[in-house]
């Protein structure tokens, strides 16, 4: 049901394999593909250290975070029946970052602690709950976006306050660089930290597929078809918040993957919100991994942060979707 018979999924999987190989070989130390593969499975001196401890973790993180971003974006777009929905619309990444910054700022834990994802997830959940509470259940997308903007700004202000009040210049540098969103210098510990939550978020969102399909006809019709809409909403919102929180906790703010990925695959799937989920996740993984390879290829002194690149590419895309659909957005109920 979730998997489609179209060649889209095998195509995306092949793309992911190719990008993963590229990600293992791209970097300041030149390593060939055969060498990278050998270094992965057997000890090859420095090459093994580079591939296993630097490039493999960032490849896995990009795949995991890209996957959950695409999946959560497709889930939220299906839930709100609106192609502009994304966790960013709810201010969730900013709120997750604020939650994590509070924990780092307090000095209780470093950036490698289990407390970090929990704080980030709590921030994300709080922001989505706040947006939904303020905007109401039958809010139009305009109200949702405005409420999300306000909540995101509030979280951003909180983060800025924490930075400006920080007595420790090292903590400030740590917070700022981490906020920009990057996979640089991430280790397998980060992968272990994020993956249980990303798995949980996946398990929450995927079974909602059938309900999302019914929701295409509106909430009343979905309920009359026997769908528990409250449970469906809870699953997707919780999944999106947990996924965003886990992603932000290990890689900082990386936005717009969840917005863009579903758009890329939807036309190939007959716009079916259920069949969009898995391909959107795969496309998200491919997009983010490609972006992370790209930042390593951009010639600059310090590596460009991947979160900056996704925003630079994602925002024009967001504007393009708005421009194309502005007529519908005037009164479309979310």
């Amino acid at each position: 049901m979730l998997l489609t018979r179209s060649p889209l999924i095998p195509g995306l999987l092949a793309l992911l394999v190719a990008l993963s190989l590229a990600s293992l070989v791209i970097g300041p130390a030149p390593i060939s593909i055969p060498m990278a593969l050998k270094a992965l499975v057997s000890y090859q001196g420095a090459a093994s250290i580079v591939v296993r401890e630097l490039r493999l973790p960032r490849t896995l993180l990009a795949l995991l975070i890209g996957w959950i971003s695409g999946l959560a974006g497709a889930g939220l777009q299906g839930l709100l029946r609106n192609p502009l929905a994304d966790t960013a619309v709810f201010g969730a990444p900013q709120a997750a970052a604020f939650g994590a910054v509070l924990v780092i700022y307090s000095g209780l834990v470093g950036t490698l602690s289990w407390a970090l994802p929990f704080a980030a997830i709590a921030g994300a959940l709080l922001s989505i709950a706040l947006v939904v509470a303020v905007a109401g259940r039958s809010a139009t997308i305009v109200v949702l976006v405005l409420a999300g903007l306000a909540v995101g700004s509030l979280a951003g202000a909180g983060t800025s306050l924490a930075i400006s009040l920080s007595p420790n210049p090292f903590a400030v540098t740590e917070i700022v660089f981490w906020l920009l969103g990057s996979f640089e210098d991430r280790s397998m510990v980060h992968v272990m930290l994020a993956s249980p939550f990303i798995l949980l978020a996946t398990l929450l969102i995927l079974p909602a597929a059938s309900g999302l399909r019914a929701l295409a006809l509106g909430e009343e019709t979905a309920r009359s078809l026997g769908i528990n809409v409250a449970l469906l909403r809870g699953r997707i919102v919780a999944g999106a918040a947990i996924g965003t929180g886990a992603a932000v906790a290990v890689a900082g703010s990386i936005g717009f993957i969840g917005l863009v990925a579903p758009h890329l695959v939807r036309p190939f799937l007959g716009y079916d919100p259920a069949r969009t989920l898995v391909p959107a996740g795969l496309a998200g993984a491919a997009l983010l991994l490609a972006a992370d390879c790209a930042v390593r290829l951009i010639p600059s002194g310090a590596e460009v942060k991947v979160g900056v690149l996704t925003a630079l590419l994602g925002v024009p895309f967001f504007l393009w979707v708005i421009a194309r659909r502005k007529a519908e957005l005037v009164e479309a109920p979310a």
């Binding site: 295409a216 078809l225 026997g226």
Partner: protein, 260 residues
């Protein structure tokens, strides 16, 4: 044959009492029209009959089983509900939209068993949309979209069909097409309840009419007994002429009465 029965139903919407002490048993095989002024509680009653709202008192019973205690999927197989002015969020193909009516049977639109495919084809045929299967739902005209959504409700093959203003905003031709489909569906033995604002069409297509006013049933019966000039004056606050000809009754609204 499935029998839907509403027993002393009271529904509160927030602090407002929307329905009070409603008892009604629409007959299988007949088309029942629900009429009444705006705010009379028609939609609230239809939603309660579909099991979509929680009554404050009383119950809706389907073949002696209370709707409130029924599993959602079981209820969805028995009662198809067509809300007012429904739309489709994505440009899904028409056949996929209609196939959503098979969800209560555990059948997914992209993996329908032969019985499901047959139900979808029959539903599309009965509303005259054969050949539209692959068209994006968002590209249809208002009339075609209304027929598609009706086909979605028919595809469930539920013994009860509840439709909230299915002909609102449709041109006269589509109004007649939709009402004919609904009446034909009733003739197959289904219980069909429809909210209508066009009193002449209600008079000509409905077997029974229920007049609702301020959350209470004022009168219930065949069109001739419900649609009288006196009742239209008290129920709708209008001066109207009821004309009888070979095709049945016509209601000609003439002027609003001053508010009491």
């Amino acid at each position: 044959m499935m029998r839907l029965e509403i027993r002393s139903l009271t529904v509160d919407l927030g602090k407002r009492r929307a329905l009070e002490g409603i008892s009604l048993s629409p007959a299988p095989g007949r088309l029942t029209a629900l009429i009444g002024p705006n705010g009379a509680g028609k939609t609230t009653l239809l939603r309660a009959m579909a099991g979509l709202s929680r009554p404050s008192a009383g119950e809706v019973v389907l073949n002696a089983a209370s709707l409130a205690r029924m599993r959602a999927s079981e209820r969805a197989r028995a009662i198809a509900y067509l809300p007012q002015g429904g739309g489709v969020a994505w440009p899904l193909p028409v056949a996929s939209v209609v196939a959503l009516g098979r969800l209560p049977h555990g059948e997914e639109p992209d993996n329908l068993p032969p019985s499901g495919r047959e139900a979808v084809a029959t539903a599309l045929r009965s509303v005259g949309l054969q050949g539209f299967e692959g068209r994006p739902a968002t590209s249809l005209s208002g009339g075609e979209r209304a027929r598609m959504l009706l086909a979605r409700a028919l595809a469930t093959q539920a013994p009860v069909l509840l439709a909230d203003e299915p002909i609102a905003a449709l041109d006269p031709r589509h109004q007649l097409i939709v009402l004919k489909v609904l009446r034909a569906h009733a003739r197959t033995g289904a219980t069909v309840v429809v909210i209508l604002h066009d009193l002449t069409l209600a008079a000509r297509f409905a077997d029974d009419i229920v007049l609702l006013e301020q959350g209470k049933i004022v009168v219930c019966g065949p069109p001739e007994t419900v649609l009288t000039e006196a009742r239209l004056a008290s129920g709708f606050g209008i001066r109207a002429r009821v004309v009888r000809d070979a095709d049945g009754l016509s209601v000609v609204a003439q002027s609003p009465l001053p508010e009491a």
